[in-house]
Symmetry: C2
Subunit: 347 residues, 2 copies
């Protein structure tokens, strides 16, 4: 296949910029790249392979003739542009929550359920950051020992909220050093030196949207619709990378040693687990990396059989841009980038 005509929509945001960066880094066969964003960001230039690509205002009439589009926009915009692009023959990889739980739309972490891409009809959803890193460690354990129950507590960086939140944490920290307390604007309370058990809005049963994503996306990706999963999602004063304390009840015993071996051999997972030598994952070290790091792997004292783990990944990379580009790579490799023909019934 010759090089592709690719669009990144929402290119001026944290995830959109990272998609452009990852496309270059991974040498994705881009023939032509066009970048779109809101009118406010139009005119910015974003580097790609030594060029500066101008950001254009997103106008539906311009979104024509692409083989592949990355949507790094809010769910509402995705709901409008996703079907439009797909109807024009573009395969859409969507980072928003718009389509993730639609039964006929694949929700994919390539290492975990890449085979779901075979059923796509023009739109593929990439999961939420906190879900991606969790299923990357749950899936290998499931394959060898089965999974019965999951309890997860997250420690999520402000970059997950976007660039304004990164600025807000920095501003509050600078204020602290000057003896001032800048008013929060992005978050409802100060985030510097604080914790907010509040990510996304509050919904059903008192769980937040972020917590429901962890529950429902995990069930869909792993194909276990009734898996008991409980989540507490917490924003922490960290800039980059999300961390998670994951407790899992297994169906069959698996020792920490066996778990380490299983996890080590899973693509994209990196075991960093020699605490006596001071080796365990931290967000500062996971930032900028594509792997999902796991450590503190130990027998659970609550579940028998079960394991406890500490899982850290860069939420903008494997949690967003890298996973989206990996979906594109898989589609390309499997010859799944011709949606209209396929929708016409060839497969």
């Amino acid at each position: 296949m010759k090089d592709l005509k690719v669009a990144v929509i929402g290119a001026a945001g944290a995830v959109g910029r990272k998609v452009v960066e990852v496309l270059e880094e991974r040498n994705f066969p881009v023939g032509e790249l066009r970048l779109f964003a809101t009118r406010r960001s139009a005119g910015q230039k974003i580097p790609f392979r030594g060029e500066k690509i101008p950001v254009e205002e997103t106008r539906p009439e311009e979104l024509e003739g692409f083989q592949l589009a990355f949507l790094a926009v809010g769910a509402e915009v995705s709901r409008e542009l996703g079907p439009l692009l797909a109807s024009r023959g573009t395969v859409v990889i969507d980072k928003s929550s718009a389509f993730r739980l639609e039964p006929e739309i694949p929700l994919v972490v390539p290492e975990v359920n890449g085979e779901e891409l075979r059923h796509h009809r023009g739109i593929v959803a990439s999961p939420n950051c906190s879900t991606i890193q969790m299923v990357m460690v749950l899936e290998p354990l499931r394959r060898v020992a089965g999974i019965r129950r999951v309890v997860v507590s997250t420690y999520q960086s402000v970059s997950g909220t976007g660039e304004a939140a990164v600025g807000e944490l920095e501003e509050q920290v600078r204020g602290f050093v000057r003896g001032e307390r800048p008013e929060p604007r992005v978050y409802p309370r100060p985030i510097a030196f604080n914790l907010l058990p509040h990510i996304d809005s509050f919904g059903e049963l008192g769980y937040t949207g972020e917590e429901w994503k962890l529950v429902r996306e995990t069930r869909k990706i792993m194909g276990i619709p009734d898996l008991p999963v409980s989540a507490t999602a917490v924003r922490v004063p960290v800039f980059w990378a999300h961390s998670e304390a994951v407790s899992v009840e297994l169906e069959r015993p698996l020792s920490p040693e066996e778990a380490r071996a299983t996890l080590s051999s899973f693509p994209g997972v990196r075991v960093v687990d020699d605490p006596e030598k001071g080796l365990y994952p931290t967000p500062l070290e996971a930032a900028g990396r594509d792997e999902v790091f796991v450590g503190r792997i130990r027998e659970s004292l609550a579940f028998s059989p079960g394991l406890e783990m500490w899982v850290v990944a860069d939420n903008l990379r494997k949690g967003a841009a890298t996973n989206a580009v990996q979906i594109a790579e898989t589609l390309l490799r499997e010859g799944l980038l011709e949606p209209l023909v396929r929708a016409g019934g060839k497969i």
Copy 2:
């Protein structure tokens, strides 16, 4: 009983200073107060009721004639001074881990198991900070619904490590603002904008000392020796107050509404739980307060019946000094401050 002769040993440290502050605040009937610390800190003056009390070097021969002593020192020093003081007729309230798991020594959170104080033989242990706030919410739930299993992830402030760690976080944050990266000295890695799943040293089964404290102290305080409890303890870049995501499997169903009512009526617990109005506990707001704050109370999606909660408390106050002073208040109220007579067989 007339006013008491009281010693605070380790008075120059974070917890010791807070004990002096809380003794004054709560108007504890101190007749004479003497403060002890290492030679390095001797000569410092610590305010108490408008006076400046000099810190004396801790010398065994000076530790004579006290009715009550607070030990806010490391476990090794406690192991030496605790029995010495007790043998001289002083009732010792020890904040270290030295005696907490000794079967014959009461490990007490007054609201939870104050009745254990009746069996003391001169030494009473105050639990670890992270344990205290957890049992304060588990106990009321246990009384109405029984407890079958607990999974806890902690978010612990640097003040739990001591004053040097508070300085280190501040120094790293100032460095960040200046574009520098000061070398960590207290922690093995940077703590600013980072997370360390490493509190206390690594031990049995790969759990840290802090995690074992949560497991074993909880079992002892609640009197359920085989309670399945699993813990992940994480240091976060917060100055004051510890937070915990607690998942609990119950023996009998209890709705979130019933749990809120139960927790609200438990002394020392404050329910802050109206997320739609933006009300949930945060460490910044819990700092400096004596209550244990609990919010995000919701039905567990992992355990049926079960609950999820977010628990926040000032680790230097209810997690340390306040609990110790409350133990002293209970001993006084119950007439339990005459250890030698009691050891002689009166009770």
